[in-house]
Amino acid sequence: MKGALELLQRVSAHADACCWYVAWNPAGTLLASCGGDRAIRIWGKEGDSWECKCVLADGHQRTVRKVAWSPCGKYLASASFDATTCIWKKTDDDFESLTVLEGHENEVKCVAWAPSGNLLATCSRDKSVWIWEVDEEDEYECVSVVNSHTQDVKHVVWHPTQELLASASYDNKVCIYKEEDDDWECRATLEGHESTVWSLAFDPEGRRLASCSDDRTVKIWKESTAGDGSTDESWKCVCTLSGFHGRTVYDVAWCRLTGALATACGDDGVRVFREDPTADSEQPVFFMSAHVPKAHGQDVNCVSWNPKEAGLLATCSDNGEFAIWKYSSDS
C-alpha cells in the first residue's frame, strides 16, 4: 500500500510567528488556523486556492495554541496561553466572541468539544483538566476539575461515540476519564512513553487510541476488558511505531474516512501510516505509506485530516505556514 503526499498549496498564515494548530470545520469547507501572533484565521476555498475569509484578532492577549469547531460547525473554541478559552459564534461572514471561559491558573493548552456538542474539555499547564457543560442558552458552566496528572497537560480528546475523554501530559502519561455520579474521574492511566506525550487520536470506531511523544514514537493502545464481564478497564499498548521519526512527534491524526494515521514531526516531516489488514487486531502492524521529509522549513506542529474529502490533509509549522496535501495510495 505504497502512497504519496502531493502538495496542493502552501499559505503563509501567521506572519513572523508560529502557526500552532489547524482545524477543519465539520463540513470540511473551512480551515481555522491559530498562532503566536495571537490571532485566529479562517480560510475557505475560492476556486483552486485557499483564501483568508476572516481574522479573529482581539480575542486573546497571548499565543492561541489550539482551536476546535463544535460538532454542529456553528461555534469555534480557542485555547490560549493567556489562560482563557474563548467561544466564538459564527455569523454569516464573521465570528463574534460569545464568552470567555476563565479558571485555569496558567496557559490553556487544548480545548475539545464532545461529539454530543454539550460538553467541552480544556487542559492546562496548571496540571488540571476541566469539563464544561453548555446549555440551550449558550451558557457554559464548569462541572468538573480533575487533577490526575502531575505535570502540564498538553492535549485532550473525546472518544468519537462514547462520553469518554483522554488527556496527554508532560508527565509522560495518558489518562482516560469517565463520568461517575455527576463527577468526572480518571479511570485509567496509560504508561509507557518515555517522555512528554504531545497528542492523541482515537481510531474511527473508538476502539483504539494513538498517542505521540517527545520520545519519537507513536503508540497504539487498546482497551482490554476482563473476560468475566467486569468493568475493570485497562488499556494496553498493542503497537509502538519507533525508528520512523527523527525528533519529537507533535501531533497524530487518525482519518475517519480511510483509517490512515498521519503524524507531524519536529524533524520538519509529515508521515502517513497504514494498517496491515492481514495482521491480528490484538497486535496491529502499521507501516509507513508516505513521507515528506521537508514538508515545511521548520517543525510541523499539527496535522489534520479533512472530515469529508478523503485524503485531504492540512499541516502547519513554526514558520507560520500551513499546507494542504493530497494523500493517495494504490490500494
Binding site: T63, N106, R125, K154, G297, D318
Partner: protein, 159 residues
C-alpha cells in the same frame, strides 16, 4: 535581581577569555559560503551575562567552546552548559538565555538543543526537559517579567 540577598556562589572561579578568532583566507573570500562552525556559535554565547555576577558565561566557564557542537549541513546545534554549582537555582534561566540567544541569531532551519553538562547539576533532567519543550519556552517568553530578565542577560557590555 537577587537584590540584597546573599549570592549563591559568592566566590566563583574566573576563567580567562579566549582571544579573537584568527581569519583564514577562505573566511575572507566572498565567493565561498562560510559554514557555521563551533567557534561562531561560541562567539554568540560567550558574552552572555551571568544573572548573578558581573561576569560572562565564558569567564565563569559555564560555556566552553569544546561543549558546542554544530552540524551546519544537518542544521543542528548542541550546547552543553555547566552551572557553577550543582544546586544553582539560575540553571533554567541560564539555559533559557542560551536558547533565546541562539534562536534570535541563527537561521530558522536550525534545531537548537541546550542542556546541562551531564553530572553537574542536581536537577539536570528536569531542567533539560523544560529547555527542550518549545511550547514551555514560547509561553515563558510571553511573560514580560521573565523576558526582561533574559534580555538583561543578553544585553551587551563592552567586550
Amino acid at each position: 535581581m537577587s537584590g540584597g540577598t546573599r549570592l549563591e556562589n559568592a566566590n566563583p572561579l574566573i576563567f580567562e577569555r579566549s582571544g579573537e578568532r584568527l581569519l583564514t583566507v577562505a573566511d575572507e573570500d566572498e565567493d565561498v559560503a562560510d559554514p557555521i562552525d563551533d567557534r561562531e556559535i561560541f562567539d554568540l554565547i560567550r558574552s552572555i551575562n551571568d544573572p548573578e555576577h558581573p561576569l560572562s558565561l565564558e569567564e565563569l566557564n559555564v560555556v566552553e567552546q569544546m561543549r558546542v557542537n554544530v552540524n551546519d549541513e544537518e542544521s543542528t546545534v548542541s550546547v552543553e552548559f555547566t552551572p557553577t554549582i550543582p544546586h544553582c537555582s539560575m540553571a533554567t534561566l541560564i539555559g533559557l538565555s542560551l536558547k533565546v540567544k541562539l534562536l534570535r541569531s541563527l537561521p530558522d532551519r536550525f534545531k537548537i538543543d541546550v542542556h546541562i553538562t551531564p553530572g553537574t547539576h542536581a536537577s539536570e533532567d528536569a531542567v533539560n526537559k523544560q529547555l527542550a519543550d518549545k511550547e514551555r519556552v514560547a509561553a515563558a517568553l510571553e511573560n514580560s517579567q521573565l523576558l526582561e530578565v533574559v534580555n538583561q542577560c543578553l544585553s551587551t557590555r563592552s567586550m
